[in-house]
Symmetry: C2
Subunit: 306 residues, 2 copies
Amino acid sequence: MSLLVVGTVAFDTVHTPFGTAERILGGAATYASLSASYFGVQSRIVSVVGGDFPQKHIDLLKDRNVDLEGLQIIQNEKSFFWEGKYHNDMNTRDTLVTEVNALEKFEATVPDSYKESEYLLLGNLHPGIQDSVLEQMNKRPKLVVMDTMNFWMDIALDELLATIKKVDVLSINDEEARQLSGEYSLVKAAKTILAMGPKFLIIKKGEHGALLFNDEDVFFAPALPLEDVFDPTGAGDTFAGGFLGYISKTDDISFENMKRAVIYGSAMASFTVEKFGTDKLIGLSDEEVSERLQRFLNLTRFDIQL
Amino acid sequence: MSLLVVGTVAFDTVHTPFGTAERILGGAATYASLSASYFGVQSRIVSVVGGDFPQKHIDLLKDRNVDLEGLQIIQNEKSFFWEGKYHNDMNTRDTLVTEVNALEKFEATVPDSYKESEYLLLGNLHPGIQDSVLEQMNKRPKLVVMDTMNFWMDIALDELLATIKKVDVLSINDEEARQLSGEYSLVKAAKTILAMGPKFLIIKKGEHGALLFNDEDVFFAPALPLEDVFDPTGAGDTFAGGFLGYISKTDDISFENMKRAVIYGSAMASFTVEKFGTDKLIGLSDEEVSERLQRFLNLTRFDIQL
């Protein structure tokens, strides 16, 4: 099945207690499409970069079977750039620099060849852009997953709420869920947010795992306990790409299958955090992915018959 | 099978954002023995209270089939008293008052009738007292579970390490695991702590669940997402009591059974936090416990075949 991913393709400079990586490949669409590629799913990217974006990054994405027809390259602009520094706990970070650059006038034109995509990931961007992508589709995708962040709650709440109303799955972190709902309890937050329109809500809790809610049920996937979290950048986007990669591959949007997709997304995210940027997410073998899944099974399986 | 529980029986005054409860029944041995009672297990308590401890609390424990032969009552002393205030996030708290009272000269005498108990919970007390209880046993229990806290790491580390070396399962929270090991990563912390002697380590992460480690494996049990966490006091002790209650009932100390015990302990703890003190932990029906277990199954079950 076809997966359309709209989101940033960018440069990141990342400072962690383990060292610094300068101007490495980053961006939500990058992580999500690389992650989805492990499910045999070709992601169709809608994004923009500047003339400074190197051919080697283009080649890397193409090697992972990512469709770049919708990647605009604006020669006289620079690519989106983010620089951040993680604290010692690796759970919190400060943004040092954000250069919007080519993204400032980004209009997110969906190529005709993408307009019947069956699955759609609206990566974290201005909600107006996310909405515009959805509106350009020739038919409503089978499942629309939307990521966002507190920044848009602060500066574009009305547009954000209008877009949230149209999507099937909203994927945000715990602090964002609290801000959006005004509720501290994540159970109450989920009820409030589901009443805003989406049928499903994913609350990402970083090293504490992820919750999947619908009106009636809740499912929890832990994050894999790791010896070292080296660089958390992109973990959430990798999760979303793995989630929709698995959904696209299986073409099944039941809650039972979404539970599996949450586990697959968590497994993919556990790779991303083990090295800088996309380093670990490139060139994983099928055996490595299976072995990681097995670790999730071992971590969570217990035998209680009621 | 017989379960011996050593730990505090106390009065607590608890301040939460929802209100205050004054001088209510508390203490590690109280929560643990009440929790274990739901597995048809009679807990034998070794503890001490003062002459101010009311008959109604004695009756309450006896009604739940708790053996109080080892509960010393020192008439001219007062019972241990703790007063604390939870912050709005309910995850952190300040201790306002600690009155050691009757506990100050507590010698933890194990009655003869307790000395062949097959399971032993060393609740959070001075490690010298915990050690003394273990030494008084006529035979080594099948499984010894030890709880402790950062306070003893600060003031009695050598004795703590000597006691830890003798137990089978150490049960501490994430911050305590980090302090004890000097490692931030809980995976690394677990390796360091298991090298100190215990065969199993439980790291409690409060609302983020609990991890069970042995040399080779790790198992994770989430905490149940709740609409409101009303009063977290006693959740860890309830967990430990449920864990050992289930182990005692099934008389099986395999890792597979410990995984089930962690789930049962988590289920019992999810009741405790829903009301002040022991209010919710008294008079639960079998149906309520089964229904809670079913919620854990729904929360964690997924079907992936590798």
